[in-house]
């Protein structure tokens, strides 16, 4: 596949030198939903050296409307997104090293990973994880690119430690949200637009063209034909606990991270045990069947239909409780099943 990158080499801000840099870089992608799958496809086609994808979810029918990389077959097999993404990405470009992790992006996991990471791409669906990425970015001096969308609306911001303000400067605290995928839906053009911005910034960072990096917060509404760039320099806060003069990285501290989370866009609670488990899913499945539960599974997860709730348990002990938004109820269901 000698000719593979020829059109990218012709683009002078990349060229032979830039392509060679891209091919030596390691990008960490947090999330493999709409933004994650689209960003991953662009980076892998563009020839990034290594891509690590962390995602805690599996492919569902409602993903197919906007999440590149996934097919009806992936839904039928209930494949974890990271696994399904890797499968497709390898067919697209076998020269790229793709590492798929079916896991939640908790501080300890990220701290272990980031020593050899050049760029973090945000494709999560919640602000808690973004604040965590932001602290990891500052602590380890790794740039990251915020991206998010809902309805026909989206936004992106490039954060370079030591240069730009950080997400904590901008948001002060984890925002209470008035709008989620659950209430406003999402259309694919908004997703594509965020991907265009995140991947352009990613390529600039990977080739080291720092002068070209966007210094504004970009937001847009594709249905209402609006596009806005807002300068961020002024909000850089020397007292910021994430990027200021005396950082404490508050979102890396376990006590600041919840164990149960309502997932964006779904009537679902995630429950995460305080320590990572190594469950024997096959044995667990047998037990559940004996107890009269309707279960299905694959090597990566076990699905238990409680009617109306449905519980999906992963090997690390994490569970998704579908059919509820009540954190306490979710925790209760989890504990009834797993003790």
């Amino acid at each position: 596949m000698n000719d593979r990158y020829s059109r990218q080499l012709l683009f002078s801000p990349i060229g032979e030198k830039g392509q060679s840099l891209i091919g030596r870089k390691h990008v960490l992608m947090i999330g493999a939903g709409a933004l994650g799958s689209g960003n991953a496809e662009v980076l892998v086609r563009s020839g990034v050296g290594k891509l690590t994808i962390i995602d805690r979810d599996y492919v569902e029918a409602s993903n197919l409307q906007r999440q590149q990389l996934y097919t009806e077959e992936d839904v039928k097999e209930k494949l974890p997104k990271a696994i399904a993404a890797k499968k497709r990405l390898m067919a697209i470009n076998s020269e790229v090293e793709v590492v798929a992790m079916v896991a939640d992006a908790v501080p300890s996991l990220l701290e272990d990973l980031v020593s050899e990471v050049d760029l973090i791409l945000d494709a999560t669906d919640n602000f808690e994880t973004r604040m965590l990425l932001n602290d990891i970015s500052q602590k380890h001096h790794i740039p990251w690119i915020y991206g998010a969308c809902v309805g026909s609306f989206g936004m992106s911001l490039t954060i370079i430690p030591g240069v730009t303000p950080c997400l904590h400067c901008l948001l002060k605290k984890i925002p209470i949200q008035g709008m989620t995928c659950d209430t406003g839906g999402i259309i694919a053009p908004a997703v594509q637009m965020v991907i265009a911005h995140q991947t352009a910034e990613a390529l600039k960072i990977l080739v080291g063209d720092l002068d070209a990096i966007r210094t504004t917060f970009t937001s847009f509404d594709m249905w209402r034909n609006q596009y806005s760039n807002i300068k961020v320099a002024k909000i850089k806060d020397t007292g910021c606990l994430s990027c200021g003069e005396a950082p404490t990285y508050p979102f890396l501290q376990q006590e600041n991270l919840t164990k149960t989370t309502v997932l964006c866009g779904r009537d679902t609670v995630q429950v995460r045990p305080s320590t990572v488990q190594q469950l024997d899913l096959q044995r667990l499945s047998q037990q559940m069947k004996v107890s009269g539960y309707d279960t299905k599974g694959n090597p990566y997860l076990l699905s238990i239909d409680l009617k109306p709730e449905r519980v999906v348990i992963f090997q690390d002990g994490r569970a998704l409780i579908h059919g509820t938004k009540d954190l306490a109820q979710a925790r209760s269901i989890y504990q009834k099943l797993l003790g």
């Binding site: 948001l171 925002p175 807002i230």
Partner: protein
């Protein structure tokens, strides 16, 4: 007078894309509270504010002719 813009779903909450409001001399926080009380803008705690295409803090003071934009952070991905 000041032009006040509402981004994304804030438009639906307020019912219009923009309003003409006399906000000269008011702080960003005071304007947020006014818009919350008068026009039903929710979640003023987390909404981001820009003055003339530059992010502003709650204690920044609005000048005659400034354009103010309210932008809700979104989390979907």
């Amino acid at each position: 007078m000041n032009n006040v813009l509402f981004f994304a779903h804030l438009k639906d909450e307020v019912g219009v894309e923009s309003l003409q409001i006399e906000a000269k001399g008011k702080s960003v926080l005071a304007l947020k509270q006014e818009v919350h009380e008068t026009y039903g803008l929710s979640s003023i705690d987390s909404v981001m504010t820009a003055i003339n295409e530059e992010f502003a803090e709650d204690d920044d003071v609005i000048q005659e002719g400034d354009t103010i934009a309210f932008i809700p952070p979104v989390s979907g991905g």
